[in-house]
């Protein structure tokens, strides 16, 4: 057995999920409050820091409220965990786990860095280097709907049930637009391995920023229009898939109290919360990987350098995380800017507009590729 492979995979799995994604989840819950406060001209949480007063000091050390997620977590754990009598217990307990697990599983195929040279061996910075990357993400993400549907059904009360029904129809509808909008991208790259897609972008310019390498040719610029359409459809469908504003109809509080997680409390509620944020982070990661060059540094094709040095790999990881963080900020910006859609508007938008647009885009890309490649 190749112990180096086993050990490096274990480090990658635990490192990426537990040291990157989960802290990102915690920090983005803080960032959400800070961003919303900034947009609404408030201050936001700025008090929680190192509690020196309980040790007898005069003042706490505030740390700009950076400890807030920790305090939130403590609150969730210490709250009473209530299981109402009328629920279907087994599924009621299963549902939170079913929302959290798929969200974390999808990170397996996203390349969070290029290479690291460890002891003279190149290690690819992706947990599972599959040849079916985007499809794997869609497959696992499509399982995420079970958690929400089961939560709604198992709660055995009206608002959660309506939330669950809404969520399943919404996610199924937007999965179509999501899948179709990624087809033109795959046609351009002719590749389903996300790692190789990023390497290609590193060499020849990002899909949406073809400014170096072969990206400067007119052929690539001719493809910018369909790629732009793909990007817009993909991003908006991702908002719907992750149940984020303006598409958070399954938990819309003006109509459904809290939607599918109305009956949940304490850590079980926190699991839904974490699952939503994890899905948002992975979604941002996928968008960055497909359209914005993943870990690649703009204008500097450095994949080869990363194979021989150790610091370039770290730099690439930092670059990827920066882009993801920027995209998460965009998610939040949209949430606190746009009002919520009505459910029928949401469905009409998905089926009548985005579905057709994504389909037409496939043909447009095929046409342009046919003209360009000859």
């Amino acid at each position: 057995m190749d112990w180096f492979l086993v050990l490096s995979s274990l480090i990658k799995i635990s490192g990426f999920t537990f040291l990157v994604i989960l802290p990102f989840v915690a920090l983005s819950s803080l960032a959400e409050r800070k961003v919303s406060a900034y947009i609404q001209d408030r201050v936001g949480p700025n008090r929680v820091g190192v509690p020196l007063t309980i040790f007898g000091a005069k003042k706490d050390f505030p740390l700009f409220g950076l400890i807030q997620p920790l305090a939130d977590g403590l609150k969730f754990i210490l709250k009473e965990d209530l299981t109402p009598k009328h629920v279907r217990k087994f599924y009621f307990w299963l549902a939170p786990a079913l929302t959290m697990v798929p969200a974390l599983l999808t990170c397996a195929v996203i390349p969070f860095g290029s290479y690291m040279n460890i002891g003279g061996r190149e290690v690819k910075m992706v947990i599972a280097d599959l040849n079916v990357g985007p499809l794997f993400t869609f497959a696992i993400a499509s399982l995420g709907v079970y958690g929400i549907v089961l939560a709604g059904w198992a709660s055995n009360s009206k608002y959660p049930f309506l939330g669950g029904v809404r969520s399943s129809s919404q996610m199924i509808s937007y999965e179509i637009a999501l899948g179709l909008s990624v087809v033109p991208v795959l046609m351009v790259f002719q590749e389903l391995n996300l790692g190789m897609i990023v390497e290609e972008q590193d060499k020849n310019g990002w899909l949406l920023l073809p400014l170096w390498g072969e990206g400067l040719s007119w052929q690539r610029w001719a493809l910018l229009l369909p790629m732009g359409i793909s990007f817009v459809v993909f991003t908006i469908a991702m908002f719907a898939e992750t149940n984020r504003m303006p598409f958070d109809l399954p938990e819309c509080e003006t109509e459904l109290v809290a939607g599918y997680h109305t009956e949940y409390s304490s850590m079980k509620f926190a699991m839904f919360f974490l699952g939503e944020y994890a899905a948002m982070i992975i979604g941002s990661g996928l968008i960055v990987t497909l359209f914005l060059g993943g870990w690649s540094i703009p204008f500097l094709p450095t994949a080869e350098l990363a194979k021989t040095t150790w610091w370039m790999g770290l730099l690439h990881m930092g670059c990827f995380l920066t882009k993801v963080a920027a995209f998460i900020f965009f998610f939040m910006w949209v949430r606190w800017t746009l009002p919520r859609f009505r459910f029928d508007q949401l469905m009409r938008l998905g089926w009548v507009f985005f579905f057709e647009l994504a389909l037409a885009n496939v043909f447009l890309t095929a046409l342009i590729l046919m003209i360009v490649k000859r």
């Binding site: 499809l135 079970y146 089961l150 029904v165």
Partner: protein
């Protein structure tokens, strides 16, 4: 795939497959089928067929079963649980299973290539790449993948569908379109009858 994993996934697949039939609660049955599909997908992956495995999850577990569950949740489950077991159906089903097993045994006993263990039949990727180059290198992406030592199963499926079977593919596409249009027509007609009654 190591043998213990194979048996684990077979056990998952068959165990939950049996649960689909045996459990009385329709939601439990539907979810057991999803887990069974996941085990099947793992078996596909163990055969290097990543594309088939992913599609099994994406299409069946992720889309078809969600719709099933959606419909089941709108039904009254208690009534379903009270329903008596239909003896004729049980006997008929058992007979069908026996017939199928006999047929499967007949087919497998006559299939000599199936006796070789899988790990003694290595994938000959570089040979396949050389063959493709000699035949004119129609799809360079596949050849490049083969030369790099990976099995481009997705691309191979795509190539087969869009070159050898393109007529059949289009026929299936038209069939699905007809079915979709049919569904819309039928649901529309129902609508008119109901509104007509109201007048």
């Amino acid at each position: 795939m190591p043998q213990p994993l194979f048996y684990l996934f077979v056990a998952v697949m068959l165990g939950f497959g049996a649960a689909v039939v045996l459990l009385r609660n329709p939601v439990s049955s539907a979810l057991s089928l999803v887990v069974s599909f996941a085990g099947l997908a793992a078996l596909y992956v163990s055969l290097n067929a990543y594309f088939a495995g992913v599609l099994q999850v994406l299409v069946y577990a992720g889309a078809v079963m969600v719709l099933f569950l959606f419909i089941i949740m709108l039904m009254d489950i208690r009534e379903e649980q009270r329903r008596r077991i239909n003896k004729v159906a049980v006997v008929g089903g058992a007979a069908l299973v026996v017939g199928f097993v006999v047929q499967l045994g007949g087919v497998l006993s006559g299939y000599e290539a199936g006796r070789k263990p899988l790990d003694r039949v290595p994938l000959q990727l570089s040979e396949a790449a050389a063959e493709r180059r000699a035949a004119g290198n129609v799809s360079p992406g596949i050849t490049a993948d083969l030369e790099r030592g990976t099995l481009p199963d997705t691309k191979l499926v795509g190539e087969a569908l869009f070159t050898r079977y393109h007529l059949q593919l289009q026929m299936v596409g038209v069939l699905l379109l007809v079915a979709t249009v049919g569904v819309i027509v039928i649901s529309r007609r129902e609508d008119r009858v109901v509104s007509g009654r109201g007048e």
